[in-house]
């Protein structure tokens, strides 16, 4: 048996021989842009750790923990990930300052998963003119899927419009004679959903018999609900943020209106919407999802979620598995690592975008079975499928196949 030292020497000399044999070829293949070296890949990120949207800061912390895990396991193709994340307080001018700091001072390879529609709008032009990837932005607006005008920007989660189209597809199939009443928040979020719904219904957009908008400043939306009930609609589409979604569910029960009730994914949280609204009032509500719910016991033995729980335990013990943002950050970080692995030794910004645009049937651990990430030169919208679900008892029951929100099928 060889002693430890001998083993080490043997290993070392083998390595030297291998290195000298391959170095010529390897050197020719390795290509780097600013932010990548033989030992390190620098990734930039901007999150609202302070300010009105600071609840989402958890996403950045989860990602940081995930990269710590990747580094502990040897990094990406032997390179460690150096994750630089800054706070923009959800303020667009601050986001511009931080993006410039990341690109010009920290010299990162890509800006990954910056959060918020206003912040991303503010830095989009700058990053594209600098040809720095603005990869997997954390917002549901539709405009990120525009490879022609902005070849360096790519979304990640399903856009609000494609989710709207999915509800349209579902209704056309399951309830073609539905009379739909829509309640939507009067901003880009609400309007995006409404547009998706109308596009999805296409020629049958007349199925929508009533549209009511509300402002976030309104204390209650009761009067809108009463008005919508009076139109005689039999399907209620609630394009609302959590507080208002819960109000709507309660009001519906109160005035004994029992339409087919659809709540958008944003407000499908058991903890912050359905529980406060009352489980007895929430039975039968429909929604759609693309990620697994950390609170749902049906995933306890799911291999993907097992990996997720193990990660939480070891690298991010303070992370709350019930918080959708943790599930989100894990999935987004995993997608980035996949792209970096695909890049191999060609870590140029152009190649990162090229690889990000050639993901085929990639499934992060936390996405629902059947939801796959697919991208191409002309398709910069990674997740486009969702699955319908129905609330039963105290949790969501998924049903049917995953539905794609793409326009052209």
């Amino acid at each position: 048996m060889l002693s430890r030292q001998e083993l080490r020497i043997a290993a070392f000399s083998t390595a030297v021989i291998l290195l000298s044999a391959t170095s010529g070829a390897a050197l020719a293949q390795k290509k780097y842009d600013t932010g990548a070296t033989d030992t390190e890949i620098k990734i930039g990120n901007i999150m609202p750790y302070s300010g009105p949207a600071s609840a989402y800061g958890v996403i950045g912390k989860t990602e940081e923990a995930y990269f710590k895990k990747i580094n502990a396991e040897g990094g990406v193709n032997g390179r460690k990930i150096d994750f630089v994340t800054y706070d923009d307080g959800y303020s667009p001018p601050k986001a511009v300052e931080q993006a410039r700091k990341l690109v010009e001072s920290d010299e990162v390879l890509v800006v990954f998963n910056p959060l918020g529609t206003p912040s991303n709008s503010a830095i989009q032009k700058y990053l594209n003119s600098k040809k720095v990837p603005q990869l997997f932005v954390a917002t549901g607006a539709t405009k990120w899927n525009d490879p022609k005008s902005f070849p360096w920007t790519m979304g990640w989660q399903p856009s609000y419009q494609s989710e709207g189209r999915i509800y349209a597809k579902f209704l056309l199939k399951e309830k073609p004679d539905a009379k739909i009443a829509v309640l939507f928040q009067n901003d880009d979020f609400g309007k995006d959903y409404l547009k998706g719904l109308k596009d999805g219904l296409g020629a049958k957009a007349s199925m929508i018999v009533a549209e009511e908008s509300y402002e976030t400043t309104e204390p209650t939306i009761d009067n809108h609900i009463v008005k919508l009930k009076a139109t005689g609609a039999d399907t209620f589409m609630s394009v609302t943020t959590p507080k208002f979604a819960a109000q709507a569910i309660k009001k519906l029960a109160e005035i004994e209106w029992k339409p087919l009730h659809i709540v958008v994914n944003v407000s499908a949280s058991v903890g912050s919407v359905l529980k406060p609204a009352g489980f007895e009032n929430s039975q039968g509500i429909l929604s759609a999802a693309y990620a697994k719910d950390g609170a749902d016991s049906q995933w306890d033995n799911d291999p993907g979620m097992k990996k997720f729980y193990a990660f939480l335990e070891k690298y991010y013990p303070e992370g709350n598995k019930l918080d959708g943002s943790v599930v989100y950050g894990y999935g987004a970080a995993q997608t980035l690592v996949k792209v970096l692995q695909m890049c191999g030794d060609d870590l140029t910004r152009a190649n990162v975008m090229k690889q990000a645009a050639s993901l085929k049937d990639f499934t992060p651990d936390t996405l629902l079975p059947g939801v796959k990430i697919n991208t191409s030169d002309t398709d910069f919208a990674p997740i486009e499928q969702l699955q319908m679900m129905r609330f039963k008892g105290e949790k969501w029951d998924l049903f049917g196949d995953t539905i794609s929100g793409e326009l052209n099928n």
Partner: protein, 338 residues
Amino acid sequence: MSAIQEVVTEAPTVEAVPKRAMTLGAGSSLVMLALLILVPLFVKNFIIFQLTMLLIYGLAVLALNILTGGSGQFSLGQSAFYGVGAYTSAILMEHAGMNYALTLPIAGVICFAFGFLFGQPALRLSGVYLALATFALATAMPQLLKLGYFEPWTGGVQGLVVTKPDAPFGLPMSQDMWLYYFTLAVTIAIYIFSVNLLKSRSGRAFMAIRDNEIAASAMGVDVALYKTLAFGVSAGITGVAGGLGAIAVQFVAPDSYTITLAISLFLGMVVGGVGWLPGSIVGSAFIIFVPNIAEGISKGLSGAVFGVLLFLVIFLVPHGARQVAIVAQQMLGKLKKG
């Protein structure tokens, strides 16, 4: 008079700053100027961008300083004027295709009018009540900018993207450097204007009102006119700063001009020294760089660290940068003698 009333009327005392103490001496001014001109030649574009923002926020703090330090009126609504200026520039540049430099005077004039008009009802209020009225303006502004009626021009929640200007005449400098020198020129012009304004008849009227309103009106100062005028001038300068800010950041959105910005500017004024115009730059440096330092110390507790730093500043140097400058001057004087 009840005790409560007395407290309220006594509250807004701004310390009387003699007019000579409001500016810098010729020597130190020249040193500052040389520094501001030379530094960008040796630093990265990103730092130049930060310096540009320093000047822009400096202008906005200066505007507030004229209002508070000059005429003794409080405002928590500067973000509204800043936002109106920014949107004016952005809309004129993107929808009317106007040259960026021309949009600034227009932004200034519109904000002057806006501030002057707002000054009218504000006349009836003083001290904390005035501060509250302007606070209402600041909270209303982001929502007004989101209104559907204006959406074709303002872009609604999505905001407007602004194109950054190139250096003219084929000058061999980056966009950032050009914008910096352009901003510097505007800042110097406005600074000289402000210094002269405070030295003029109007400036004396402002200060008379600040020190004692009744005495001022007894001396024949038209209190109503000069109070609204101070509001107008302050709003106008803030509007120009807003316009420059829109060009530098290349983006305007309602969420950029919230009450947080107004409070930052107020903070900048206090840290720089109320009524001391050169302090505006120091105050602006505080609101730009200290949050970054705080974030560097602790990401999760950046707000708390910032609070501690702010507390230290207020506790140790309650009169802000002016106090530091005076101490430094005295020490220099001693050194020279010794």
